[in-house]
Symmetry: C2
Subunit: 307 residues, 2 copies
DNA sequence: CTGTTAGCGCATTCAC
DNA sequence: GTGAATGCGCTAACAG
């Protein structure tokens, strides 16, 4: 690989001029300019990103720590984020993590100057204490950090309203296992039921179980009837549908399953009503936040999506 | 962020000694050693990765260009790759691409010293001419490059054998739209049919159509009967199942769908027989290849997976 | 307009 | 054992 010296020599100018042409590029005689460009072309010269980073004290890398648990959703975020970052000439350094400790370790290892910023995406578990500079997207909690959260109250309300309008008034909820997200979802659920004058039945809610299958079994074991089931994402929804079928419960005739996050639909889940969040929009805001073009943490509302 | 000078000053030694302790670390008096470690601890010092890279002429980053078309599969590779790279203290720089030009551009942009190596994963379209150093994993072609390919002949053979044993002899094939992978798949299909003394019927094969839905429509429009359908991956399989249902064709009673790549099963596709490739193993070999611990391009066989 | 110089933070000689 | 000096490739400040 050729470097700036090679170009300077071939173009008969100094390194500084080469640098000027390829960067700021103003205040350079057209003649030298052309010479530099020609030389660069001939040598197929690309400024070394590492050297630029060291000099400018900023790599153009953003570290993304991505939760793997509901990987389908996360992948959607990943694609959207990469697209936005790409448009801003930034690179995406990927790291997967599925629990508290992995996130902590990843954050540690990426805090050595390699990244300009860090983002945690889609964590469905309690996070370690992170530097305030770290951004959280769609995580269970994160009110004190730079973050973009889904409006869980709104989502739950919308879901309940929709289901009530479908004459489904016994609505079960398999909630997040912890975090603010769980509390907010419950709040929206509660509120909407109240608006529809449907009594709240504690027996219809499971909010301390990370496995959908077990949550659903517990729900069924309780023997309470329900005509609708709220789950937190599409993966859970699909699993729920399969289990309900195994229990001879017809979906959606007997139980309508509703996904509180169907942002990245998989083939086969089209028939499940859901709340869909605008991934591109979220990614765009996230990147703007990271780049300092925007300053307020965001609460994003999703829209109702029915087949 | 503190740097090596701060540590050296606090520990009352020179930069060189600090570097020795935190890197090679031999030939240093225990006393200084402790002093350095203590100072580093106090200052929470982490050697700057960028500076190390510039000095050592090797970032520990591997660029991964990931095809998005059948994203579920790719995500599996992504996770497996990240895990392996992580174990080797390497970072994964992610880039998505969905066509010839995007790959070319991504390869360009990542060839500026930021990455030590480049990998293209899961491309289902013709690739641009790439540097020989670039590794291909599960792409349509790539015999001249460093690569890890699935044994498509073996997969198709296995599929056909299985289906024939299930008394399904009219086996339709919706093949890859191009590349060696298509040719090899067809070869395996052909060979296995021959072994089972089933005549080859050109009408049962579609190999110039990138959309499964359209391919399947064409197949059905042709009016040929088929009791089994081979498709190239799970996403396609699920779409095929849905379409077949719309055509009132019961799956698997009337048509058994078989996925030639079911490495990353989604909920709901469990009932579809498939060939499953060992993702972790593939990722491990890939990383070994990248790191020069191994030198031969690989052909990987997948195993039959039935519910 | 352009060349020279001095860092960026670290690893690595080479003397002592 | 250890410190001073040099270089990785580039950008920026400062002279001319």
């Amino acid at each position: 690989m050729s470097n700036i010296n090679d170009v300077a020599r071939l173009a008969q100018v100094s390194k500084a001029t080469v640098s000027r042409v390829l960067s700021g590029s103003r205040g350079v005689k057209e003649e030298s300019r052309q010479a530099v460009l020609r030389a660069a072309e001939i040598l197929n010269y690309k400024p070394n990103a590492i050297a630029q980073s060291l000099s400018s004290q900023s790599t153009n890398c953003i570290g993304v720590i991505c939760a793997t648990e509901h990987i389908q959703q996360s992948t959607g975020y990943l694609q959207a984020l990469e697209k936005q970052l790409n448009q801003h000439q930034k690179h995406l350094l990927l790291r997967f993590a599925n629990d508290h400790d992995s996130v902590a370790q990843a954050a540690q290892e990426l805090s050595n100057g390699l990244c300009d910023a860090l983002v945690v995406v889609g964590a469905r578990f309690p996070l370690p204490e992170l530097d305030d500079e770290i951004m959280l997207i769609d995580c269970l909690s994160g009110s004190h950090n730079l973050s973009i959260q889904c409006d869980h109250i709104f989502a739950a309300e919308t879901a309940v309203h929709y289901l009530c309008n479908q004459k489904r008034r016994q609505i079960a909820l398999i909630n997040f296992a912890s975090g603010e997200a769980a509390a907010l979802t419950l709040e929206g659920y509660h509120q909407a039921l109240h608006n529809h004058v449907v009594p709240f039945n504690r027996q219809l809610v499971i909010d301390d179980e990370s496995s959908v299958r077990i949550a659903l079994q517990r729900l069924i074991n309780r023997g309470v009837k329900f005509s609708a089931l709220l789950v937190t994402d599409d993966t859970q929804a699909q699993e729920a549908v399969m289990m309900l079928n195994q229990y001879q419960l017809k979906v959606p005739e007997q139980v309508m399953v509703f996904s509180l996050d169907g942002s990245t639909r998989m083939p086969g889940s089209n028939a499940i009503p859901a709340i869909k969040y605008p991934l591109e929009s979220i990614a765009r805001r996230a990147v703007e936040l990271l780049l300092g073009e925007r300053h307020t943490s965001d609460l994003v509302r999703g829209s109702l999506l029915i087949a």
